[in-house]
């Protein structure tokens, strides 16, 4: 029995040795999330405008109802989102919006440091999402 104790504890003690810790010393150290990580949204730009055509599929599919889109017509007669806003306090990061997008105008980035001091700062408008 004693032997088994030692065997088991040796694994425990091995993990206490330097180089065996899974804890990351955030913020000194940062992990690289996996490529399919669902962090902050990003609107994909094209040369002169956002790729988004304001089809309203993302606010429709959104289970948390956190996306606000208002479409309008630009000078070229194209449909574009005059307003595009995501309320991250409501967002559940399910990624349905990205899945629903017919033009691949929305993607989710690896950005996960989203803490902030003011409620308004959690509302991401078109300008911030295009960054």
């Amino acid at each position: 029995m004693f032997k088994e104790f030692i065997q088991g504890l040796s694994i425990t003690f091995k993990h206490l040795l330097p180089g065996h810790s899974t804890t990351v010393q955030y913020p000194d150290e940062r992990l690289t999330p996996s490529p399919r990580f669902r962090g902050l949204h990003r609107l994909v730009p094209t040369q002169d405008r956002e790729k988004c055509v304001a089809c309203y599929l993302c606010p429709t599919v959104c289970p948390a109802k956190c996306i606000t889109v208002e479409s309008a017509e630009n000078e070229k007669g194209e449909k574009y989102p005059q307003v595009y806003e995501i309320d991250l306090l409501r967002c559940i990061f399910c990624g349905y919006c990205v899945e629903a997008c017919p033009v691949e105008a929305l993607e989710m980035t690896a950005e996960y440091e989203l803490a902030n001091f003011h409620r308004e700062d959690f509302k991401f408008n078109k300008k911030r999402l295009l960054k």
């Binding site: 055509v53 304001a54 089809c55 309203y56 599929l57 429709t60 479409s71 309008a72 017509e73 007669g77 194209e78 449909k79 017919p102 033009v103």
Partner: protein, 822 residues
Amino acid sequence: MVTLTIDGKQVTVARTATIYDAAKEAGINIPVLCYAKKLLPYGACRVCLVEVEQMKGRLIPSCTTPVTDGMVVTTDSEEIRKVRKTVLEFLLVNHVVECPVCDKGGECDLQDLTYEYEVVANRFQGEKFDLPTDEVNPLIERNMNRCVLCGKCVRVCDEIVGYGSYSFINRGFETKIATAFDRGLDCEFCGQCVSMCPVGAILPRPFKFKARPWQLKEVDTVCGYCGNGCTVTLGVKANKVETIRFNDKTGVNDGNLCIRGRFGYSYVNSTERLTTPLIRKDGQLVKAGWDEALAAVSKGFKAAGKNLGIITGARLTNEEFYLLKKVAATVGTTNLDHSGGECYKGVTEGLKQTLGVTASTATFPQVEKADAILAIRSDFYETHPVFGMVVNQAVKRNHAKLSIVADKRGKFGKLPDARSLVTKPGLELNVLNGIARVLLDEGLAVTDGVAGLDELKKALAGFAPEQVAAATGVTVDALQQTARELAAAKNSAILLAYGLPYTAYSKELATAAANIAILTGNAGREGSGLYLCGEKANSQGAIDLAVLPGNQGLGAQAMLAAAAAGQVRSLYIVNEDPLVSYPDQGKVEAALAGAEFVVVQDLFLTETAKQADVVLPAASFAEKDGTFTNAERRLQRLHPGITSPGSAKTDQAIFQALLVSLGDKVVYTGTEAIFDALKAGTPYAGIGYADIGLQGAVWGGDHLTVSKQLVPVGGGATVDAPFQLVTGSALYHSGTMSTHASGPNAVISAPYVEFGREDAAALQLVDGDMVQVKGSGCELQLQARVDNRLPQGVLFAPYHFASAGLNRLYKGEASVAVEISK
């Protein structure tokens, strides 16, 4: 009746039904793109293919194949699905797949079918069209790259609207829908094509990129413009009416609407709407609270007492009319009248004397089956376009004989075999008398149980067809033919529109029309009717509820005269802009100046409201709950779609608050309670509020029982002048309200005077020239328009626009002698 089997289900349907109709009756859904209930079968899309046991070997289009006895139909099988999928693949060869930016996305028939039949890939390759979109007009956008060539727009424009804007051009793969010479759409903008298009090829421009169909809340209500009472379904998003949705399930209009109904809703959202009450302080109208405004109004009304005059527009609901009558009773005045005053009253008085009724004697759907139709005064299409579409169908589908007695040509005159009896202005009466004379002379008249025959014969002595022809310019032959057709018809319809710009001879015209109805046997016969069509949404309600001067009370015109003379001390003008819409602006001006205390209740700061002491902000039809009664006596429910801007209130709420501040203790729990209270002693007595269903409720049944008393009427008088001006309604507008709506304004936004081609040539005028119109001691500067509707020497100017000042010239006559200079 024919019995057939569809998918194992026995169905019995009418002999005229198609397989599609039969399946629908049996609750079996067959997919379609080119089929529409109100259009004739066409068979363009081939999506509705089914299998018929008796016609093995090929698939049969169900929407064009009539049913036969014992037919065995299969609507869904592996083979059928395969073929339908192939058809969809063919359609998608050319159709651009831009669903994310297409406003039809979400309610597109092609999109739905593609999804249902899982068309995920296309076996066929072809060129996508890259045709330019048709954006030449401000209301309807056409993108022919999305067109599936179902031809619904072509057919609706031809069959229902009778305009014929569209046709197919080119051949084979190049086939497309185009307007004349492919110049782009320029029509009457009723938008029927928009409502019919199964894909996003024809879309309403004012709704472009505004919302997705699934985001819209649909509210069925009744159009607030004319007396036709069309159901409009508001598409509401975020408390804003964004569009009018297609709806052929409720109401009487079969989903048909005119430009006003479909594109005229925007005044509801206007930023110019009044949002707070205004009170005049130191000569300026300043914003005030409701308490202050109501206190001022009730103080002023109490001070005026029986010297208060109330003039109301006819766009209030029945419930509001009732409350307004209560306001009058509480204040103690009998000076109450609804808009049009003597004009409307004349028409109803004329009918009362002859037929003993004050409403249309039959309902709209019967007109479709009429054999002969007589439209009196003005082209009916301009005042009541959707009723006009019913007439179109009667003429085009059932070959009804249509005659129009008017002072100008209109759209009706262009229908197949339509007879325009164009008279000199003011002489319509003579033509009607002439027709009556022919009926009597040729022994065609129905005289059984008819009173007053001898007096009429005596009065018609001077109206022999030849005499009438000489006086009016209508041919003897036309008079005789019209009389013979009307007398021979099994079902006939006589149409008479009335409204503010048609004040002259209103009583006489109604009487003469009723005389013809009696003599031709139209009166009292099932299937026939005399139609009295009011200009405003609830004109008929105002008549039914007797919003009229009480004992020793004054009518609208008398009230204005008395106010000018200082006898009527206070005026309460509700939902009307008499300074613009009433004949004789000077008289209204004098009345407003003469009255000590003027209260105006309206949506906008109208010309009249600018003169008021207190202005109360009211609500539009889209914000109201209640009932309207349309021109065929149908009561229909309004449902509020949005809330009023600012602190504006519905007229119902304003009247209730006013009643409370006047000391009335009765408070109603809701609209239904008011309706229950108003019924007693009116034709609505037998109708419960809950009975007013999707199709409304017609009081008095489909046929009103009428008396047959002929009343002699004299002829009219015409003005002897080289140019005479007539006024009336333009197709694109209704009253003064539509001038605040961006849709109608996009087509016609400024006043104009219309010339016939001959006059324009003689005066060397072209479209857009400015002309001086001088008459009745004043001079107007108006833009000229040239068309081929007017006879020589007659000019036409619509009355809707405040900036025209037309009623400085027009004082209620049939026509005004004018001089024209460039």
